[in-house]
């Protein structure tokens, strides 16, 4: 950019013409937009534009899609154990485009993980973490963990069988931590078991905490990237500048744009033709359910199976965290300037081994499920249950005040007669349907525990001063009707 003479875009300023130009100028004087845009679009890429550089902006693009679809899903979703599943079923089965948007969001999380792995692999193979890019690499590692955390917390939110049991297994891992394990598990779950508090916690983490951290880290990541500049070709040497560079615009921007279009098309087609399913509502009492995590957690899932009992600490905590520390500390360990992958056999070999092991572990998990007859049968049964649930029409949730939700009282014919008296005497106009109370009068549910039947009768026939002031009238009915009314009021629970 400094050599404006060679830049064919060095622009001779021209006098302003027309409203759009004047608006742009007005805006630019106040924001410095023009300079920012030029810095971004003219950023030099040593060695020129390449398809292998598109993953970073692809991730930003998926993130944008996740934010938008996520916000829209929140229009109908409620995070509580008794509502989450119904509201997701409502989104999936009733609301227009609901299944599509939910699928876009769910597949988007998988796409995020895939593109993230591609981005990381490209950065690694190109040695783009070298030459004063330690913080850039570290912020990327933190973002990787946060994206996996987003996927993990989001998985529970539909509160179907799959979500419930997979998260139950996932949160159990926390208890393997030495000393604070059990405490940590209870912290994550909001109690010793999975329940509605777990769902609230996961929702808050998924919607407020982790996104906040992601935004901050992405800002840092992009800033550090701008500061360090594009690493470019593996052959470029920072000590010997003069390597031919090409600006980001237009060829790299076009590639990034093309990749974004590919992502939209792939996600859109998948979401339209294979919308994600919703299983039956979580039933913690189902002891036969075989939980399986989402594909990107399968390698870890399989790995955990290899470390029973006392070895668990080594396998679950020590080995993975050592690898993670080694990986994050790479730019501090590998200080050579050499970036060509074929000249870095140890680093590239180690990376390939890790990727291959993860891949084989995932594959092994799938294979062992297929080989075990009982598990294969149960998994097939679960898939069938999900399909059956998806085919059933949407069933609205019964409101608490509903008739069907209460009315144990009617089992007793005497109390049933009392209910008639209750309604004929207009008790319900103040005390509400089934004695649930209203703005006009207190609820009667549970009153049987406070008064004996004869006390109740006395109060009904001769209300106290306080009751009369509150609008209560004396009940004038026959002895038999009074007896059944008292039986009914007593039975309200």
């Amino acid at each position: 950019m400094s050599d404006a003479a060679t830049d064919n875009r060095s622009i001779k300023p021209r006098p302003g013409k027309g409203l759009p130009r004047r608006l742009y100028t007005w805006f630019d004087h106040r924001t410095g937009l023009d300079k920012l845009l030029h810095q971004a679009l003219d950023a030099p890429i040593p060695g020129g534009a390449r398809w292998s550089y598109v993953f970073g902006s692809g991730l930003l693009f998926i993130l944008l899609s996740q934010i938008i679809t996520g916000v829209f899903l929140a229009l109908y979703y409620l995070p509580s154990a008794d509502r989450a599943h119904t509201t997701i079923a409502y989104i999936t089965k009733e609301v227009t485009s609901g299944a599509f948007l939910r699928s876009l969001h769910a597949y988007g999380s998988s796409a995020m993980v895939i593109v993230l792995i591609l981005h990381l692999t490209q950065t690694f193979l190109y040695g783009a973490y070298k030459n004063r890019r330690e913080l850039l690499w570290l912020s990327g590692c933190a973002l990787f963990i946060l994206v996996l955390a987003m996927a993990f917390t989001g998985y529970l939110l539909p509160w179907d069988q799959k979500a419930y049991f997979a998260t139950s297994v996932g949160t159990n891992i926390a208890s393997e931590f030495p000393l604070i394990g059990d405490w940590l598990k209870r912290l994550i779950r909001g109690g010793s078991d999975m329940g509605t508090l777990t769902l609230s916690r996961f929702f808050v983490a998924h919607v407020f905490l982790i996104p906040g951290a992601i935004f901050a880290l992405i800002a840092l990541h992009v800033y550090l990237f701008r500061k360090a500049g594009a690493a470019g070709s593996v052959r470029s040497d920072p000590r010997a500048p003069g390597f031919e560079t090409e600006s980001f615009y237009p060829r790299q921007l076009l590639r990034d744009f093309g990749f974004a279009v590919v992502l939209i098309a792939a996600l859109g087609i998948l979401a339209h033709f294979r919308p994600v399913e919703l299983g039956p509502e979580a039933n913690p009492a189902d002891t036969r359910y075989v939980p399986r995590p989402e594909w990107y957690y399968l390698p870890i899932f399989q790995w955990l199976k290899c470390w029973p009992g006392s070895l668990a600490l080594l396998g679950i905590i020590v080995i993975p965290s050592s690898i993670a520390v080694l990986f994050a500390g790479l730019p501090f360990i590998d200080r050579r300037r050499e970036r060509r992958p074929w000249r870095r056999p140890v680093a590239v070999g180690g990376f390939a081994i890790i990727l291959l092991s993860l891949f084989s572990l995932g594959l092994l998990s799938r294979l062992s499920d297929r080989r075990d007859r009982a598990i294969a049968a149960q998994l097939a049964h679960q898939r069938q249950e999900t399909r059956r649930y998806m085919q059933a029409p949407f069933e609205p949730e019964m409101a608490e005040t509903s008739l069907a939700a209460s009315n144990v009282a009617l089992l007793d014919p005497f109390a049933a007669k009392g209910k008639e008296v209750y309604e004929m005497q207009s008790c319900d106009s103040c005390h509400g349907d089934n004695g649930r109370g209203s703005a006009e009068g207190p609820k009667l549910v549970g009153i049987g525990a406070k008064f004996q039947p004869d006390q109740l009768e006395a109060l009904l026939r001769h209300p106290t001063r306080k009751m009369i002031d509150g609008g209560m009238n004396a009940v004038v009915v026959s002895d038999q009707e009074m007896e059944s009314l008292v039986a009914y009021v007593n039975s309200l629970k």
Partner: protein, 193 residues
């Protein structure tokens, strides 16, 4: 960088030039590309916003709150009765993803012209449920002694209007009614949402 050059030149009111601006780029191909990219982005964005808009506007296009029609039974059955017939109906109220089911009392009776009408038993005064008093041939509210005629017309007492008629229709010979609530203490019948 030309933007910097400009700031050192505050005297001239030269506008800055955007990278996508058509006039300033010496290469027409580049600016054309810029416009093309901008238009593509806009059209892709517009395409993607279609499902979002449909999703967000769903409650505006589809009825999400609705009270179902309740079946009162064969219309012919009510003909022989001279007095109003008390019936308990089960009302289903749909509200988005939730549904409430409750029972309400209605009276099937006839208006002055002999047409079958359905009255809500809720007193328009303070909302007590009004029973039919067979001995006196009137509806008498037990709370504040509002009195109504056989067809629901107000006779005496504090109620500001007569008993409320409910929307009723005959479908395949069966009497159907749609339950609604009405504002109390006002002289005209006003549906409460």
């Amino acid at each position: 960088m030309e933007a910097e050059g400009k700031t050192s030149n505050p005297g001239t009111t030269q506008p800055s030039s955007g990278p996508f601006s058509p006039e300033t780029n010496s290469s027409g191909r580049r600016s054309f590309l810029g416009w093309l990219l901008g238009i593509c982005t806009l059209s892709v964005g517009a395409l993607l916003s279609v499902p979002l808009v449909r999703f967000g506007l769903y409650p505006l296009r589809v009825k999400t709150t609705e009270t179902s029609w309740s079946d009162l039974g064969d219309l012919g059955k009510f003909a022989p009765f001279p007095s109003p017939v008390r019936r308990l109906i089960t009302v289903e109220h749909l509200d988005g993803w939730r549904k409430a089911v409750f029972q309400r009392t209605v009276y099937v009776t006839k208006d002055a012209k002999g047409q079958t009408i359905v009255l809500s038993a809720v007193c328009p005064h303070l909302g007590c449920s009004v029973p039919w008093n067979e001995a006196q041939g009137q509806f008498i509210c037990p709370c504040h002694a509002g009195v109504f005629a056989r067809d629901g017309k107000r006779i005496s007492g504090p109620p500001p209007r007569g008993m409320d008629t409910l929307e009723a229709t005959i479908k395949d010979g069966r009497l159907m009614v749609r339950y609604q609530y009405f504002r109390q203490l006002v002289p005209t019948k006003e549906v409460v949402a």
